[in-house]
């Protein structure tokens, strides 16, 4: 196994003991070690929430921005310098609630980012309100009568928007999750990895036991992940059994490969040429 300690820092972690985020953090470190990306070559971008604090607990570059807005920041950074390897960490409220429109746009844009959504089906940082993925009927202090909305199905949503890499991981399957993250990093377009994350403090339904009884790994030999309809069917499985793995993957071309001004290299690296600008201005 590669050395994961290079991604450790001594910044104090304030997650609750037993939080599913620890498993995700370990999986990220493992994946980074496996893909051999040194700390100084990684950029983590996140929103706001418990999940979005993840970058602080890693030794790497990071931009911990606004609630819901990690994807636009990451998109801007990637457009500025498409050589960067960018991982985005968001919570389910952060990504599917506050940032919903940005997710829709990112899926369509197919820019090469790896999005990890820590999906605990509740708002952790603000102490337990319902999130877009909370079950219909889920009771919280803010929804004492139970959530009246349908739970959103982010994986089906992503597929319907033409996403090219859609996966689900589980915080209790670290090795498996780290492989998903590595696959997402090497995928040349936008990759969404929805991660089932236990929140021990505010979600008493979707517990380690709940997942232990349901989660199963898609068999790489049997399941080919290239059939959209089959993938859509899989995203509907929940009550009895919950599949994890790469649900869907198709060949793709990155957004930055499509944009003419980026063909001579990353915007950041191109040179300032006053002569060309002078000409452009005098022709205008």
């Amino acid at each position: 196994m590669k050395d994961t300690t290079q991604y450790n820092n001594d910044y104090e972690n304030k997650w609750c003991p037993g939080c599913g985020n620890f498993g995700i953090l370990n999986a990220i470190k493992k994946s980074l070690a496996d893909t051999q990306i040194p700390p100084e070559k990684i950029l983590m971008v996140s929103g706001i929430g418990q999940a979005a604090k993840t970058p602080h607990f890693l030794h790497c570059n990071f931009f911990h921005g606004l609630h819901g807005r990690a994807l636009p920041v990451a998109t801007g950074a990637k457009l500025a310098d498409h050589d960067l390897t960018i991982l985005v960490n968001m919570g389910d409220g952060d990504c599917y609630g506050e940032g919903g429109n940005h997710l829709l746009a990112a899926l369509r844009r197919n820019i090469n980012l790896t999005l990890l959504v820590h999906n605990n089906m509740v708002y952790g940082l603000t102490k337990g309100q319902a999130s877009p993925t909370s079950r219909h009927g889920f009771v919280t202090k803010a929804q004492p009568q139970g959530v009246a909305c349908q739970a959103s199905n982010p994986l089906a949503l992503a597929l319907s928007q033409g996403a090219g890499f859609v996966a689900r991981g589980y915080c209790g399957e670290i090795e498996h999750l780290s492989q998903l993250i590595s696959a997402g990093i090497s995928y040349p377009g936008f990759s969404l990895i929805d991660i089932l994350q236990v929140c021990v403090s505010f979600n008493k339904e979707n517990t380690y036991t709940f997942y232990k009884d349901r989660v199963y790994t898609l068999d790489k030999e049997e399941y080919k992940a290239d059939d959209l309809h089959q993938a859509l069917d899989l995203t509907m499985e929940w009550e009895e059994k919950i599949p994890i793995g790469i649900i869907y993957q198709k060949e793709t071309r990155s957004y930055t490969d499509e944009l003419a001004p980026l063909q001579s290299g990353p915007l950041f690296k191109q040179t300032y040429d006053p002569k060309k600008i002078r000409k452009a201005i005098s022709d205008a």
């Binding site: 100084e40 602080h56 911990h64 807005r69 636009p72 801007g76 500025a80 050589d83 201005i281």
Partner: protein, 578 residues
């Protein structure tokens, strides 16, 4: 005799008003005349009433005129709506087909001032009704005294691609031209022969876009909103020749966050919007503030609140942009008053935003963005762009790099992520010097003080208000795009022996307190001239200097100032005092 003619072309949206206007403007520009063309249109694609007003002169013109010398009415509504603005000797050219109401005109007007011309019929004869605007342009230019060759030349560049279309347009233009050949027009002038253009003819939007290019802006993210969209459209024209990318974001929230991401990653980035979009960007502005990320944001004002008057002009966002976003952090606010100044301001805004690692906001408005202006100075491109970034080589120990290291100036060395061994950590949370979240009292105080410390240096960069006969007893004080109207109003007032000068702000925040006090020290009174309902600049001056305005001339109808309006109102104010 000096030339000062105002031509208005009006009709429905979809009738090609802007094309006629552009052609006339370009013919005049080419021979070395000065001009200013304003665009007035409703928020609709077809129908309604829209017009373009072109003021043409052999002297620089700085503002629209309040009287019309020549009105080209492509429909009767245009004639009726502008009747009151006609100059004594003015002439109306009315499309004969639409001329049902000619009989209703006052006797004298029918005889003297209204000339029905079969614009649409001539266009049909030349090959299609669509060329009505070309016929109208021909008639207008003939009345002004232009030779047909000058007109023909511009038609050739306008319709360069298609031979048949060009041919038809020349025929159409010719028939309009010939139709008025023998008409007397009071404001016809000796057309300059062999003149050459006295500068560039540009819209305000275009000047802003060119300034961004010269500032080495590489990413421009936006969400369409009038009147800011034009800036982005102009920038997009350069995507095939320069390293600049224009990205249409899913909304303004995304646009501002994108430019913050791009800037964090090391390129200069811009967004442009109007007040409604700026409202959505307020949180992102704060993000740039706390993460100390350079960001340039243009707010092209239109009257509001909310959607307001989408295609009209106003200056109602000054206090908003100065205070937008919660808590406090330093920012720059600029309000250029001319296309040359707008161009220079873009270069300065990018430079200063990067130097101080703070957001810079540029306030313009619909009048400024959508008008065609003449630039009177050359637009210089910097030989080099000074970048305020630190790489590993600039550090004694890159592994100990701290993004928010405390310094006396408040400015920390800014490294870029993934460009060396130094790790660049930034957060929207309050943080320590390394960029990690921190809630300690010491870190909070240190960071607030560090950010605020920049204000001293920033204030030093600000230019004071520009005086025009600034030693006068009474000063008209304004900001941004009203610069020209204020200066012309001052000329009118001085001509009538009023001791009046002007003072116009282009650099607004951090407020140039000392320079403002100096500029106001010798006047007896000052009167603010603004396009909002509360005199926002006046309030700011009072807050920052203790000086109070005598009264304010405020206009918030969504239309640009005319010098005459300002002068007349100033006179009544001053006559009251006497």
């Amino acid at each position: 005799m000096s030339i000062d003619v105002t031509v208005t072309i009006g009709g429905e949206a979809g009738q090609g008003i802007q094309t006629v206007g552009d052609i006339i403007a370009r013919v005049c520009h080419k021979v070395g005349l000065y001009l200013l063309a304003i665009n007035d249109f409703e928020s609709r694609i077809r129908g309604g009433h829209s017009f373009m007003q072109i003021r043409i002169s052999d002297q620089p013109v700085l503002a629209p005129y309040h009287k019309i010398d020549l009105l080209i009415a492509l429909n009767t509504e245009t004639r009726d709506l502008h009747k009151k603005e006609m100059a004594e000797t003015g002439l109306v050219l009315l499309d004969a087909e639409k001329e049902d109401a000619k009989e209703n005109l006052p006797e004298q007007a029918r005889e003297k001032n209204v000339l029905p011309i079969a614009f649409s019929q001539m266009a049909k004869d030349a090959g299609g009704k669509i060329m009505t605007n070309t016929v109208a342009a021909g008639a207008c230019l003939a009345l002004l005294g232009a030779p047909f060759s000058a007109f023909e030349q511009i038609l050739k560049t306008t319709f360069a691609e298609k031979e048949k279309i060009l041919e038809n347009n020349i025929t159409a233009g010719r028939s309009g031209f010939d139709a008025v050949k023998n008409t007397d027009f009071a404001k016809a002038f000796d057309w300059p022969s062999n003149g050459s253009a006295k500068g560039k003819l540009l819209s305000g939007s275009n000047a802003l876009a060119l300034g961004a290019l010269a500032a080495d802006c590489r990413l421009a993210a936006f969400y369409p909103m009038s009147p800011a969209t034009g800036i982005m459209i102009h920038l997009a024209e350069f995507m095939d020749q320069l390293p600049v990318l224009v990205e249409q974001a899913e909304d303004e929230i995304s646009a501002v966050n994108m430019i913050i991401g791009a800037s964090y990653a090391g390129v200069r980035a811009l967004t442009a919007t109007s007040g409604g979009g700026f409202s959505l960007m307020a949180e992102g502005l704060g993000l740039a503030g706390i993460t100390e990320t350079p960001a340039v944001i243009i707010n092209s004002q239109r009257p509001g609140p909310a959607t307001g008057l989408p295609t009209r002009t106003g200056q109602g966002d000054l206090l908003f942009v100065i205070h937008a976003s919660q808590d406090e952090f330093p920012r720059f606010v600029f309000a250029p008053g001319s296309p040359n100044q707008a161009y220079d301001t873009m270069i300065r805004a990018f430079h200063l935003s990067e130097k101080y690692q703070v957001p810079a906001i540029i306030l313009t408005d619909q009048y400024f963005n959508d008008s065609l202006w003449m630039t009177t100075r050359k637009m210089a491109v910097p030989e080099e762009i000074e970048r305020f970034v630190a790489f590993d080589e600039d550090m004694t120990s890159p592994s100990d790099y701290k993004r928010f290291a405390v310094t006396a100036s408040g400015i920390s060395p800014r490294a870029l992520p993934c460009k060396g061994r130094a790790l660049v950590c930034a957060t929207a949370n309050e943080h320590d010097e390394a960029g990690h979240m921190s809630e300690t009292i010491a870190d909070r105080n240190t960071m607030v003080e560090k950010r605020q410390a920049k204000i001293k240096g920033m204030t030093g960069e600000m230019k004071g208000p520009k005086g025009y006969h600034g030693e006068s007893e009474s000063l008209l004080v304004g900001w941004g795009s009203s610069d020209g109207a204020i200066r012309e109003a001052v000329d009118l007032l001085r001509f009538d022996n009023f001791d009046v000068g002007g003072l116009v702000f282009s650099d607004i925040w951090p407020f140039p307190q000392k320079k403002t006090k100096e500029a106001l020290s010798s006047c007896k009174r000052f009167i603010t001239v603004e396009q909002n309902a509360s005199s926002q600049l006046g309030l700011l001056i009072r807050q920052q200097t203790g000086h109070s305005f005598h009264t304010s001339l405020l206009q918030y109808d969504g239309r640009p100032f005319t010098p005459n309006w300002i002068a007349e109102h100033t006179k009544s104010v001053l006559e009251e005092i006497r």
